[in-house]
Symmetry: D2
Subunit: 302 residues, 4 copies
């Protein structure tokens, strides 16, 4: 019970058309809804209404991220826990938000607006529920099957971690410690994957990237081919992370929000023993092949 996975990320973009063109033609998501100032997208294997929402705003940024809970009761239960921890919770009622029912919103210690939602409109994946084939035809671009995780920045990583773990029930798969043994990066999961949410040192409220799942290393190459052909700026990769063991490419959407495609990694159950990285290994921890971080990766977030 409790949180089951990342539901959607809501970002702001200064050009809805350009962002829509990119997320549908290059990333290969499907547009599932649109209002005056917002567009909604899902991946082909996702059942829910959307996993990405973009809103027009002159500034590139993040409005909020939303996680889905398993049961109706989880909302009330978690609302109580959040308030007991000292944060005000705001209810968003059914009908107020596109594609979903009742939800709660609150600010986290990392300075982000977070949402928890139980009921999301089912629009269905691109495959039938009876005798399906393994994947659909007619996909465009990279076409990841689903959104995977996001990484945000926080001034006080340990404090944010405590909240995500103690109040929301996230489990710590990996952590990066500075020379004094303080957490400067944490990787947290609820869905038996290496991470659903990660937090690294940086300004409060920042979005470092959100990531799409790919099925294997060959899909990573294909993604790189498509990005290069479409003149999308690749930040780093294809490479491997030391943390999570996953294979990855970082790149930027045309408005400047960092995206990732990600695959691989282990499968951590709730009894998974936390892996620790020390600061002298930070290069390999993040980019196992390069063994060092680039400036852009460290400094740029939205």
């Amino acid at each position: 019970m409790g949180i089951i996975r990342l539901s959607h990320v809501d970002i702001t973009v200064p050009d809805l058309d350009l962002a829509t063109a990119y997320y549908t033609e290059v990333m290969g998501m499907l547009e599932t809804g649109r209002t005056d100032d917002r567009v909604f997208f899902k991946c082909w294997d996702e059942e829910d209404h959307h996993s990405l929402a973009i809103r027009y705003d002159p500034r590139v940024g993040i409005d909020r991220f939303s996680f889905k809970v398993e049961a109706e009761d989880d909302l009330e239960d978690l609302e109580r826990r959040i308030e007991r921890y000292g944060f005000r919770v705001h209810r968003v009622h059914r009908g107020e938000e596109v594609g979903q029912g009742e939800s709660i919103r609150f600010e986290t210690p990392s300075g982000h607006e977070m949402e928890l939602v139980h009921e999301v409109e089912k629009v269905g994946s691109l495959l039938p529920k009876v005798n399906p084939r393994p994947y659909p035809t007619g996909l465009k671009g990279i076409a990841p099957p689903r959104m995977d995780h996001l990484l945000v920045t926080a001034e006080e990583v340990p404090e944010a971690t405590r909240f995500y773990m103690e109040v929301l029930g996230f489990r710590l798969t990996e952590q990066l410690l500075d020379g004094d043994g303080h957490q400067i990066g944490v990787w947290l999961e609820r869905s038996h994957t290496p991470h659903d949410l990660a937090v690294v040192s940086g300004p409060n409220g920042g979005l470092h990237h959100f990531a799409f799942w790919l099925d294997d290393w060959d899909e990573v190459r294909r993604a790189a081919d498509i990005l290069a052909y479409n003149a999308v700026q690749i930040d780093v990769g294809p490479t491997r992370h030391g943390i999570t063991r996953g294979a990855t490419i970082y790149f930027f959407d045309p408005l400047g929000t960092r995206n990732e495609v990600f695959t691989g990694g282990y499968r951590p159950d709730p009894d998974f023993p936390t892996i620790t990285w020390t600061e002298d290994n930070v290069g390999k921890a993040i980019f196992y092949y390069e063994g060092e971080l680039n400036e852009r990766f460290m400094k740029v977030h939205t």
Copy 2:
């Protein structure tokens, strides 16, 4: 809370040495314990004491399968639920069983002895918990990172399914229906994978196979190379399942227990809508490329 994953499968073999040679040299598991009539094995990325136990017996068969629960309390809670459902539960106390603490055992409607365990001796994976590399060196044979699932046979699949779902909390990802709409195969999960446990029509108490996870399709080819080189009889594959979408090879250990290597598939969360296969698609459901089942696959179990 509740069951988090398959813990171990306990089978019987008429030749401990031959089976041990196969599971260590060809499959590439690690021997982690041994008694007069039993040998215990784990995969390299598993932390717990064993995921496979073999016991000497003149007949090839299955003693039991064991699932791990998240919390100490889960044992008592599930014990109550099982007894309320009408099955007697037997306690195995700490110290009675190799490599694990308190557990409960009971017969299921599919005629299997099942075990639930919370505390298992940690022997650790082959990687350190500080600054690990992505995988260890010196592995032998196929060397899967972990055990994945098992498939058992039952005379009354719907009845077994009800028990596994209502009492033990498994979720139904896929089902195969006969012409009358009755379940003749079900795929059940607790760990956000396409299946941790599957049940198909057959005699009560039978084991169709247990499966090891591989990381991708190239590992499947490598496994086939190793099996062929070691003259291990391949039953079917490399091929793809319609059900689970996974890639697979079926083959037999030298004593006749069917093994599988498996990779791929989707990632079902608890809100995953069940997929249904109809009997006229059974060939593609099981072996998507062949489109038909072989006799051996249908008839042979242990």
Copy 3:
């Protein structure tokens, strides 16, 4: 100098429309020409006019196979050698055959009509010759980059082999010997690949299959997905050959001609030492994973 590669295979089909639909939509070749009773196809990365021609005939069969020579002079030179060996050579003049210039045709000791051609109309690949991307967009079906080789049957394999080697300059990469040490299968190359032409025991004039190149094992899986989705009957595979080491799938076009997709294998230069397989290893030689041949593979040819 001399033969540089397989140019095209000319087969007969009892249904031009059905065959065309299959070779364009499922196999993903491009139609490059058409006459009253013939259709011509090429793969996307091939420059020449066609690598496959189909002709209407009530019977499924092979008209001829054609190899390309490097220089104009090679035609005359090889014509002399063939006639000296005792076979009559027939000249086909420029303008007589679609998409190509002067060629010579002759019957081989394996009972096939073979053609050698130097000048072939260039229609170009799907990629530009200036600043190309790695592969084109908009491909359909399997879309192999090129035709790779063909395998024919002959009553007297050693005699056919002598002709192909001594007269036409093929080099022997692998051979399969029966218990008396006689060749029952040979693999021959001119283009630094494991085989451009292979001959196995069977009736004179038979076509066992022709094969398309795929770039890797993941493309083999994708091909199997497409074949299965299109209900194309798979004969064997995905599997690996012992001979050539290549990965493969055999299957039949809708009229009954066997096709193969093939990848991998070593890169033999002219100094490559021949590999020999003995009859007791014939199963592994042909299908390394299965270790045995199926009846259909042995008996069916066109």
Copy 4:
């Protein structure tokens, strides 16, 4: 007839032991010979005595590169052509050089000592010639099956190209032109691969890198894992080349000679139409994903 492939590259290293440890333990070549100041290595699937020779010298550099010719007569024929072009040819007689018979050596317009050799001692690959398995066991490190090509630098690329093509018979698969249409990079082949030898602008006599063949993109990832684990500095990659379409990693041996692992690319026959890249696409031409060259790649050679 003529040149069939790269035979070996002879480099100098200031530390024979360190270089030997790297080329055997990390690269996974086999040591096949040793003299006072030289060590010889081959890859596991190569039949000839060596494809790499290292000689002790305080300076890192290249002594020569050697190509193999198909027939004994080729040596005399090419000797005449080279002398007619105006270069002096030096004969190295059987017994003078380790592991090979008669050869000729000469300086090329790119300022390199080049060797042509026909007879090379056969030490055999690691696989038997009768009923082999697809690859051997017990390999160490990256273990490429063979050496693939080398890239050298020349002050006057067009002049060097003319020599390699007109005198030695290389064919031009791709070329990179500056704004004035002059060649600043050429890719040349003799073995139906995208390149056996490449030349780019730079000082005469320089070695940019030599490259090992890998079988696919998954082997590229495995190579990167091994390099990273062994703390070998990766220059660029894993990435894709625009030129050749191949997948690649560049890195340095511990003494500073650049190595590459390479896979993929098309299969050019002698009738392959040359591909041209213009200088404004140089970034994509070399590193398709990054779209730009790094300083190190441009400046560092040995």
